[in-house]
């Protein structure tokens, strides 16, 4: 017969019945905060645009048609592929990818450095990484604008040192946007990698060295596979918000070209908005993001445990 500690099928059922109501809050949170808004957005993307903001409750594919097909300025040409929005999406993906790469290149050594400090000083290093993020993102981005501008302290200092003759043209360029994104999201890269490296057993590196592995081979064959989940998590955490960012492109890049974020933002502003199109663009963006996450999940699933 079943000994103590072994659950019978009947016991399992009571357990489940007991737990189910306790799970209710989490179902409510997921339902109200996630499923409902996304469903609402999906529905809106298929509705008819009400002129000057809002929607008319009539089904149409017009928003998606506008996204993918170009019928000329006057709408009477045969449909061609619409490159406008694809270009905007591609620009954002490129920008976000570059920011992710920069964060990884700087973030990995930083996380490694912190994780290899003595246990009692690690907390201080982590604390230092997070301090700037107690300040609102908008304020930090505006401050960066002050720092980078032609008449700002950085150019001022370089000029007074005689290192440059004219101010470095950084503000209102893609480089400024990159700096802004990098600065905004660096901790999202450092923290997960730190968590992974901290758990790494350094005896493995020693064992590899004993077996005549080069430093490079040790890093590639031993360290990276172990900390990979941290790296992937960090990349996702940086890439996704960078993709939708509009503060850095607007305030640092001069808003000369639309990014995904500013394109969507524009659709809900004032009297010129187009809600269904904004919702459709957001749905397409979300589909892209889900796609990235799916690839991650599959990569994780295949990874040797």
């Amino acid at each position: 017969m079943a000994g103590p500690g072994r659950t019978t099928p009947a016991g399992d059922a009571t357990y489940r019945e007991l737990v189910r109501p306790l799970l209710l809050p989490s179902w409510l949170v997921i339902g109200i905060l996630m499923v409902l808004p996304v469903a609402l957005m999906a529905v809106y993307s298929f509705l008819t645009r009400e002129f000057r903001g809002g929607v008319i409750w009539e089904f149409t594919l017009a928003a998606y048609d506008q996204f993918f097909f170009d019928r000329g300025l006057f709408g009477d040409e045969p449909p061609r592929i619409e490159w406008t929005y694809i270009t905007i999406f591609w620009r954002s993906i490129w920008q976000a990818g570059l920011a992710t790469l920069m964060c990884l290149v700087i973030g990995f050594p930083t996380a490694w450095f912190i994780a290899t400090r003595p246990a009692r000083t690690r907390g201080i290093w982590l604390f230092l990484i997070t301090i700037p993020y107690w300040v609102n993102l908008l304020i930090r981005t505006v401050s960066l604008r002050f720092l980078l501008r032609d008449t700002g302290p950085m150019n001022g200092a370089l000029q007074s040192l005689g290192l440059i003759d004219a101010p470095l043209p950084i503000i209102n360029t893609n480089l400024a946007v990159q700096i802004g994104l990098f600065y905004s999201y660096l901790p999202f890269m450092v923290l997960p990698i730190y968590a992974a490296v901290e758990r790494y057993n350094f005896a493995l590196s020693e064992a590899a060295a004993d077996l005549y592995a080069s430093r490079w081979a040790t890093l590639r064959e031993i360290v990276l596979p172990v900390v990979k989940p941290g790296i992937v998590a960090g990349c996702i955490l940086v890439f996704i918000p960078s993709l939708g960012a509009f503060l850095a492109p607007d305030l640092l890049g001069g808003a000369k070209t639309f990014m995904i974020g500013s394109l969507i933002d524009e659709q809900f502003r004032g009297s010129q908005g187009n809600w269904p199109f904004g919702a459709a663009a957001a749905m397409i963006l979300m589909t892209l993001v889900l796609f990235v996450l799916l690839i991650y999940a599959r990569a994780q699933g295949r990874a040797p445990r």
Binding site: F74, T257, S271
Partner: protein, 338 residues
């Protein structure tokens, strides 16, 4: 707001018999003492609720607040939208003894021809400013923005606002707003695309800041912002271009189903008195649309170059196009920023 209500309630208590007035107004756009003056003169108790955008005001009225307010203060294009929605009441000039005080140029406005629903409240303009340390040449033309001289290339900020950019572009080319003419729209599109490489940035909130800091040497800007830039020490000059400039105007409208129509007309008449109109201008630092305000204006406002366009220069309101036409302008804007 609460303080104001408490104060007005206290002041007006003895004269409650004269009734009430419900005003739907922008946030911080009318001086408290002017409201008290109106209450003291008429014995009417004034209640003010505020909004922060034309669209929010329209939405609130349509969602059931119509019938609760007597007057509101929409911007120019919104007056036309509200009239088309049928939520404005009309009045005759005879009902407002001070109607004749309205400056003639603001009488036959495109958004309310003949002023049947609205009276001017405050107006301002949008054109451009130039840093005179950088560029000393002639700045009387919109070509400063759309076909800039060598010194200003790459150092221009334009407003990140479709209405202002496309309207100033149309004024520069001398083509009408809300046109459906293909050649004209194509010309506007091409002109903007050719001008864009000369622009450093698009930004509305930063329009003043970039001129003061020197990030930009010229920029499309609202006249009030330019006056502030000058007050902060930047050597900027605001231009009223010869081709024309953009004007905006906030207007007091009589709402449909106003619970206190008589009092609303008294209030509108009160605001058309030069001394009272000047009080609003001194507070908001824009311009009144009323004759004879000069003696009552604060010197820094009556003498401000940004508030006093030269005679004969023309201002254009941004027109509200119909849906099909607006689509074309939306496409040009997206094209410019893609």
């Amino acid at each position: 707001m609460k303080r104001l209500l408490a104060l007005t309630a206290f002041l007006a208590t003895p004269a409650l018999a004269e009734g009430e007035l419900k005003v739907y107004h922008w946030f911080e756009y009318i001086p408290d003492d002017l409201v008290q003056k109106f209450e003291a003169e008429t014995g009417i108790k004034v209640t003010i609720d505020t909004y922060d955008s034309n669209e929010a005001m329209l939405a609130a009225l349509k969602a059931g607040k119509l019938g609760q307010y007597d007057v509101a203060v929409p911007g120019d294009y919104m007056v036309k939208i509200m009239a088309n929605e049928g939520i404005l009441d009309s009045f005759t000039p005879e009902e407002l003894p001070n109607f004749g005080n309205i400056e003639p140029q603001w009488l036959d406005v495109p958004f309310d021809p003949g002023r049947k629903h609205s009276i001017p409240y405050q107006w301002g303009s949008t054109a451009f400013s130039v840093n005179r340390d950088v560029y000393k040449g002639d700045i009387s033309s919109l070509s400063i923005i759309f076909d800039p001289p060598e010194e200003l290339r790459g150092r221009i900020n334009v407003l990140d606002s479709q209405g202002e950019v496309l309207t100033l572009g149309s004024i520069y080319l001398g083509i009408p707003q809300c046109t459906q003419d293909r050649d004209q729209l194509k010309a506007l599109n091409d002109m903007l695309l050719a001008a864009k490489p000369h622009w450093a940035s698009f930004g509305s909130d930063i329009a003043k800041d970039v001129l003061v800091s020197g990030d930009a040497a010229a920029g499309m800007i609202y006249n009030g912002f330019s006056a502030k830039a000058r007050a902060e020490g930047a050597n900027v000059e605001y231009a009223f271009p010869k081709e024309g400039y953009v004007v905006w105007m906030d207007n007091v409208v009589l709402l449909k189903d106003a619970p206190n129509r008589e009092n609303a007309l008294k209030f509108m008449n009160f605001l058309l008195d030069p001394e009272n109109a000047a009080a609003v201008t001194n507070y908001a630092a824009y311009s009144a649309g009323v004759k004879g305000v000069e003696p009552f204006l604060a010197p820094e406002i009556s003498g401000s170059p940004e508030n006093n366009p030269p005679e004969g220069q023309k201002g254009f309101f941004i027109e509200a196009c119909d849906e099909a036409t607006q689509r074309l302008y939306d496409a040009i804007w997206t094209n410019l920023k893609k």
